[in-house]
Structure formats: C-alpha cells, structure tokens
Symmetry: C2
Subunit: 304 residues, 2 copies
C-alpha cells in the first residue's frame, strides 16, 4: 500500500490578487503528501531540504503517518525557494525569483525501505532525477505516475521521453500537451502522447477541469466553481496527491478507478486553492472531503 | 409547443486554420432553428433578409417544418453580412467585415400567429429589438431565453438590463459574465447576474463547456473533445437551439430539465463545429444525435 512521493519540499513566497504569503512551506512532494495523507497512511517522501526548512512542518507530516526519512537535510544549505505573483484572473503567474539552492545537487539516494514502494508519484523534477528513482526501485511499482513541465520539454526532451516511456500515468497541462505532441486538438495530442508509452494521460486545465484519456476512452472531471480562489499554488500537485492516495487505497489501476481517482484529486485541489499554501490541506476532516466529493456528483449528474 | 426564434438570418464568409467558406448561410436564428428542428416541428423565425439571400435555403428550412413567414424580405436590399478569421487555436477571431445592410432598419413586426408562441429564444440582437418582440407578445411565453454580447454591454447597457429583467434564461460567455457583473469569479458573477432578473444563467465557455446556475445550484456541461474543429461559427446559437428545442418538447422549465437541455445544446454544438457553417446541422439523423448524447454520459459518469 506504500506510496512514494518524489519532488521538491520547498519554501515559497506567493502574491495573488487576494493577498500575500511570505516564506511558507511548499513544494510538489509536500502538496502530494498532504493530499494523499487523507487516503493512505503509508506515504514516503523523497526530497532534499536545507537548514532553513522549519522542522515543525516535518513533525506535522510525521504525525500524519508520512515517512520523512528520505527528506535529505543538507547542513548549512538553503531549501529550494520560489516566489511568484499571479495575474488578476489567476490564470497566469510571473516567477519573481527561483533559488535552486540544495536542489542544484539533488542526486537522490533511496532509503532501502523505499525501494519496494508499490505506488510511485514522480513530481515535477529534472527527468534525470526521475529516471534515477525509477532505476533504484527493486521491483517495478504497481502504479507509476509522473508530472512534468514545459521547461523540461525545452531543455531535456530526450531524457524526458525516456521517463515518459516507463510510466503508467502522465499528468501535464493543456499547453504542455500541445507542446509535447505538436497538436492543437487535445484529442489528437492525447492520441499521440499515449503512443509515447503511458497507458493513461491526464490533461489538467486548471479552472476548466481535467481530461483523462486512454486509447479508447475519455473522461472529464470538472473543477468546482468557487467564490474565491486565494492561491492556485500547488493545485496540480494536490490533484496528483489526491489521485494517488485514492489509487493506493484501491490498489488496482483501471480506467474506472482512475476516473474516481481524478475526482478525488479535483476535490482535494478545490480545497487547496481556498487558502494560501498548504494551510487548508492541513485541517480537513473526512466529513468535509465526503461533502466535497458529493458536490462533484451534483455538478455533472444529469438524466437523458 | 411553438418556439419562436428571433435573430439574424445572414451571409457569412469564414476563414479558419482548416479552410475557408465564402458567402455561406449563417445568422443566429438560422443556427437556432436548425438545431431545434430535430426536437420540435413548430418553429417560427423572426428576422430580416435581402434579395441576395438564397431562396433554396429558406425552402429547406420550411421542409423541416420551420415557419418562415416572419423572415421579412426587403426588395433590393442586401442581407446582413459578416466575415471573420479564426486564430490558430480557434479561441479568438478577428472580424474582417460587418455589413449591417437590411438589419440596420430592422423594426420587427410580429405576424399575428407568432404572438402566442409558448417558447421564445431571443438571439443576439440590439436590446431594443429584443424588447420590441417581448412587447408584441400577446401572452407571456412559458419560457423566454436570451443571448447577448459584450457589444451591447458597451453601447446599450441600460436597455440591455431592461430585457435581462424580463427573461427566464440568460446565455452569455465567461468574459461577458465577468463584464456584466464586474466579478472575476464566475460563481460570484452568477450570484450577481441572477439578481438582475433571470431565474437561470448559462455561462458558455466554448471548448471548456458551459455552466448553469440558479440561486441554489450549479451544473456543468462539458464540451466533447474533438479531433478536429472546422468552424466554431454558430456554436453558441446551435447550443441555444438544441436547448430550446429540448425544452419545447419537455414543456416545463426546471433545473433538472434545463440540465438535460444544455446537454442537448452541447451535443448539437459539437456537431455544428465539425463542418463549416450549418452544413453538418442539415444532415443529422436522430440516431447520430442519440449516440452523441450517450457520449456525454460516458464523458462525465463516475462512481464514488
């Protein structure tokens, strides 16, 4: 049942039209782990941090059953730092500053207990690091999902394609799907990307929901229309965490399970954006999640 | 069961990345009537055309049971003409030319048989013309829907608000909803627009589907991911036509019926964009429509 989340554990400074958050905890693996923690208690994080990372935040993760042995602390180092400012409509953002810091030398070394994880979520990182993790696994995980971004398509396409070839599920956004396939139509993009190896492709469209494709079927998960979006940071990672958390619980990878999994992911992402950083993800109850999932049924249910 | 469609009957020249169509039949009322014709045979069009309008196209509408008595022919006049070019992603378009022609003097005069229509679809036109139609009705239609656009918000907001006050269903796109309400969040925009009078608001998001709001509920109808979109022209009017065609068949206006109605609208719109102009809408079979509707169920159905 063990889920290994690989990705950044970082510090972010975020500015949106509705406020600011200075030096708060962020990073793909953080969001993935928090979201998944509501559905499985066997989560492991592989990442790297500096001495500036707030220890109480790691303790909090541990208290949720997350194994942090694989979060490598570099003495005297500084954690990966990102700061950004969102546009008025929140659909785009400018990066104000990126400090790689300890991430620059991240050569992942898997604790031996991690090497038999049954489920693997490769968060957005350089494809070389993603590949290194794949190569260190003792047995192939039952389900491997990966996230990536346009930056790696521009700078390391060859390596990226090698990783994509080896995963079950690829999650990217609509612009990235167009860039990766060279197709304008998302249906055609999906057809072409599935030929690159993954069994399933998830195209994330932010406030417009997400599409799931395999070679024969397509499924659409809507985003919940919210009164206020405070901070979109981490929504994609939270989506991935909710999805993989559900799949870890379910065990089997099928189109049907994956449909439900991305509804779980969408529900967790809808919470994530309601407060800054990971704040909302820290305080959810199972009852709140159940009510939120029910809203997704109401949102799309109709009778012919 | 009679449905009155008010709007342009026009001639369009269209350029998209996939081709060109020169001087083809278009106009809001044309698309509305064609889409609705698959669900009701009591359709009436109120519009105005010039002598350049191809008569066989009117005969074709008549053969589908559409009453064209209210399409006023101006001797020696020229029909409303629009030409435009779509961007590569088809999400925006430039108007190359607009000739109002006979539309400039359109002062609608309802044939007496039209004045008791039970269902009314006010296509996008100047609010003064929409209001004149409302005022000529002998009894209030059971269901009144209207479409409009940002142009009238810029140039005739006062009159527009007077029309909006009197309708049951308002259909606009996301940018127009933001403009009309001054709200960035579509959920807040809907809350505020519903205070302006309509019972239901439909926000059209093109390739991202459509949202339906009343004061308590929200429903989302997806757009079908298509391999090729040949021409988005008329998709919004086709959506409205499918929706009103279904509602005319059903009779009663309820949130539940409206949910199904906008799935019908979305299905008809998905056909519309697959060929240039109204070509695809002319040749559908009931079986094709049934299969397409079923695809919308598959697209969003999941189990928790």
């Amino acid at each position: 049942m063990s889920l290994l989340a690989v990705g950044t554990v970082a510090i972010d400074s975020i500015e949106t039209p509705l406020g600011k958050a200075e030096r708060v905890v962020g990073g793909a693996a953080t969001y993935i782990a928090w979201a998944a923690s509501y559905f499985t208690d066997q989560i492991r994080i592989l990442s790297i941090i500096g001495e500036d990372f707030p220890q109480p935040e790691l303790e909090l993760l541990k208290s949720k059953g997350v194994d942090t042995e694989g979060i490598h602390l570099i003495k005297g180092g500084k954690s990966f730092f990102w700061s950004g400012r969102y546009s008025t409509d929140m659909n785009s953002r400018d990066t104000l500053e990126t400090q790689l810091n300890v991430l620059a030398d991240f050569a992942p070394d898997l604790p031996s207990a991690y090497k038999n994880s049954k489920y693997l979520m490769l968060g957005n990182l350089t494809p070389a690091v993603q590949m290194s993790v794949l190569n260190q696994m003792e047995s192939r995980p039952d389900i491997i999902a990966m996230d990536t971004m346009n930056f790696w398509m521009d700078s390391a396409m060859g390596e990226l394609l090698e990783v994509i070839k080896r995963v079950d599920i690829l999650t990217i956004n609509d612009e990235e799907a167009r860039q990766l396939s060279g197709q304008q139509s998302l249906a055609k993009a999906a057809r072409d990307i599935l030929k690159m190896g993954p069994k399933y492709l998830i195209i994330k469209k932010g406030e417009h929901g997400a599409l799931l494709f395999d070679n024969d079927q397509v499924f659409f998960a809507p985003a919940l229309p919210l009164y206020d979006v405070f901070d979109p940071t981490g929504a994609g990672d939270t989506f991935a965490g909710g999805m993989m958390g559900y799949l870890s619980q379910k065990g089997e990878l099928s189109f049907s399970n994956l449909k439900t999994a991305i509804i779980y992911g969408s529900a967790m992402a809808s919470f994530c954006v309601e407060e800054f950083g990971i704040n909302k993800l820290k305080e959810l109850t199972d009852e709140e999640i159940k009510i939120r999932l029910k809203k997704f049924i109401d949102l799309v249910h109709f009778e012919l």
